[in-house]
């Protein structure tokens, strides 16, 4: 079999970027949560906040570390596998990614050091400031990277001359048609991720009656947040979809599994799209609802996949199902947020075992939703790399052979598998040890210092601290 460097590069890009993406969405949300906890501690001096902040900062450190190393891979992927694309888009993407580095990454990196290691080295106010700066940095970072991605979805402000993009308006290119929705949708997704992980972990502790006071506080806070964010996400998602309808109609047709452009289109709950025969099997749908959602009219017209030639259609099945997974999870999230509100009466939200178990399970859901969302966005854009202007095949590195691409693909899978399983393992151990571990920590540090040098850490090997 011929190894196809294009297909392998696409798989590789999808793999490394999906791997990277799950860390930022968590760290963006968590960074803000930690900054909030540090702020509450600074204001009230209630040690409970500090205990929570310390605990979640440890979690943050592990996740952030994995985000950084996988991000460094991303910044070289463009050049290694998509060098024609890099060369053609450098006039826009180069400055944007550089701005991301100088305005966000340096900020995050510098203040992260202080946040993690500086608790006893700087005044409390400065430590709080560091926490805030890290959180701000994560948002600046998403601003630039989402501007870059949105521009590839809905290019604007450029002029294509001799195969090279020249920027004619920075404002239009950065704030392109889909940017603002993508940015808000992603910011909300990050808060949902942080929120559901914190809620899930707190619920797990509450089920085991551990550190009830602190975890109850954390759970209550996040439930209020989720009550606000989860419904907003559905609303923003709707606007995002309307925007996509305007600029990438084929993608919407794939999301809806709609082949013929038509009016009064049903919302399909289930279907198996068949690209070869250009139809769906086993359709189950609610009449006219897709038209209503997309055009806000019962008889509104919805674009169809048959509007464009077969080679300009994305793989329909992936887009169709990924979209349903994301939206489905979105509604389950709303359900949990409402249930939390309901259970507040009589303070049952932290005592109902069923609710707490459900929340524990829900802690993986945002990651699935986020990946599903990105799959809709990115697969739905196929075969374009820069929508309507440059295809994936045109962007590929010319000297890349199938063998080279396969070698690195296997390499990344192996490396990430090792790193990821270790990361999950240490995270689970951190959760297992819990907030209580901080108290042992102090004793350990204390007798650690007194111990003869050569014997250090022996006791760590027997448990206690992680």
């Amino acid at each position: 079999m011929e190894l196809d460097p294009l297909l392998l590069s696409r798989i590789q890009f999808a793999f490394v970027v999906s791997f990277h993406a799950i860390f930022p969405v968590f760290t963006i949300g968590l960074a803000s949560f930690i900054a909030l906890l540090e702020g509450l501690f600074y204001k009230t001096r209630n040690p409970l906040w500090e205990r929570l902040a310390k605990f979640w900062t440890q979690v943050f450190a592990v996740v952030f570390g994995m985000g950084v190393v996988s991000g460094i891979v991303m910044s070289f992927q463009f050049g290694t596998n998509w060098s024609n694309f890099s060369y053609a888009t450098a006039n826009f993407l180069g400055p944007v990614l550089s701005y991301e580095v100088v305005t966000a990454f340096f900020l995050e990196a510098a203040f992260l050091g202080v946040l993690l290691f500086g608790r006893n080295k700087v005044p409390k106010g400065v430590h709080l400031f560091a926490a805030i700066m890290v959180a701000v940095g994560t948002f600046i970072s998403s601003f630039w990277i989402l501007a870059a991605n949105s521009w590839m979805q809905t290019p604007a402000g450029v002029d294509l001359r001799d195969g090279i993009f020249h920027v004619t308006s920075w404002g239009q290119a950065l704030f392109n048609a889909s940017f603002i929705w993508r940015f808000i949708h992603m910011a909300l997704a990050s808060f949902l991720t942080g929120g559901f992980v914190v809620a899930g972990v707190s619920a797990w502790y509450l089920l085991r009656k551990r550190e009830v006071e602190a975890n109850k506080k954390a759970l209550s806070m996040t439930l209020w947040l989720l009550l606000l964010i989860a419904p907003s996400q559905a609303l923003v998602g709707d606007f995002h979809g309307l925007n996509t309808l305007e600029h990438q109609p084929t993608k919407v047709a794939a999301m809806e599994g709609n082949w013929e452009r038509s009016e009064g289109v049903p919302l399909l709950l289930f279907a198996i799209p068949d690209s070869k025969n250009e139809t769906n099997h086993f359709e189950i749908g609610i009449p006219k609802l897709a038209s209503l959602i997309l055009t806000h009219e019962w008889e509104g017209e919805v674009p169809g996949l048959l509007d464009v030639p077969a080679e300009e259609r994305p793989p329909v099945g992936i887009v169709f199902w990924a979209f349903r997974i994301m939206v489905g999870i979105g509604f389950i999230m709303i359900g949990f947020a409402l249930a939390g509100l309901w259970l507040r009466r009589g303070g049952r939200y932290w005592q109902s075992p069923r609710f707490l178990k459900g929340l524990t399970l829900m802690s993986v859901s945002p990651f699935i939703a986020v990946l599903a969302g990105w799959f809709v966005t990115e697969v739905g854009r196929a075969p374009w790399l820069v929508y309507g202007l440059m295809t994936q095949a045109e962007g590929l590195t010319p000297s890349l052979t199938g063998g080279m691409a396969l070698f690195t693909l296997i390499g990344y899978i192996a490396v990430y598998a090792a790193v990821f399983s270790a990361g999950i393992y240490y995270l689970l151990r951190l959760f297992q040890a819990g907030i209580e571990a901080q108290d042992e920590d102090h004793e350990l540090d204390f007798d650690h210092a007194k111990r003869p040098m050569s014997a250090a850490h022996v006791s760590l090997d027997n448990g206690g601290k992680l």
């Binding site: 950084v68 050049g79 006039n91 080279m404 390499g411 790193v419």
Partner: protein
Amino acid sequence: MTPVFDLTLIWVGIIGFGVIMYVLMDGFDLGQGILFPFAPDEDARDVMMNSVAPVWDGNETWLVLGGAGLLAAFPLVYSVFLPALYIGVFLMLAGLIFRGVAFEFRFKANTSRYLWNWAFSGGSIVAAFAQGAVVGTYIQGFETENMRYVGGALDWLTPFTVLTGVGLLLGYALLGSTWLIMKSEGYIQDWAYKITPCLLFGVLIIFGLIGIWSPFIDDMIRERWFTSISLLWLIPLVTLGFAAWTLRAVAKRQEGFPFVATVGLFVSTFVSLLVSKWPYVVPPNYTFWDASSAHESQLFLLLGLLFVVPFVLMYTAWTYWVFRGKVKAGEGYH
């Protein structure tokens, strides 16, 4: 060329600054990893790792800036170097991943700690070697056609690039040991003092070999250095001067100076590399001017950098200030 000021030339300066910043800063922390297996004991390893733990992320960010900055200012370099070094880049990234996560995982591990020791040192060694091979490849030149790389997957791996790889590996180890002199005390510092001269001699020998070999690989370098005896020869003299200073500072046990002198040694070596290949950035065919991006993109980014970079340097310096002084054995993590 443009009348008032030449943007491309300014960008050569900026990228050059970024590259040397990266080499120096990640150099000393990769150096900790390279020296890791030889450290006297586990406590020394704790100190070595803690001496760079708060700053390594920032140091590595200079690498990301190098990548993004090249894409912005000299896209041809980005889109030729990375395909040409495809396998090497992968190895470097894999190395950086393992050493990066080792910072977090090692301190949380009990029985698997030795695994993360290996991940930290193995990752650092592979990354440092791959970066050295990049330098060698740059000296060798690239097979290009019509602004695209057309060579093979392993053109970057030759005896010459292996030598430059080992050279940078030793160089980073030297930066690491002089950094450690500054940040440690007691028997750990004694050890760092002891190994520094050995590393220095190793570096000098390999840099010397590279210097002798390069003119045979590249005609341009031969002509530049040997057709007439010129002021250029002052640069290697300066390098030797810094080497002598390093030795003296070690002998006198001046804590900070060995590091400063080693930095000088690196900077002067970097300058001699630049003047050897000037003005080619994708040798043998393309100069910095051929490789540069559109004028308005270079300008757009430059204006922002002028405003932001002073702040970056300020708060970076501030974090080094916060974590100044000696790292003590057994000093807690987090």
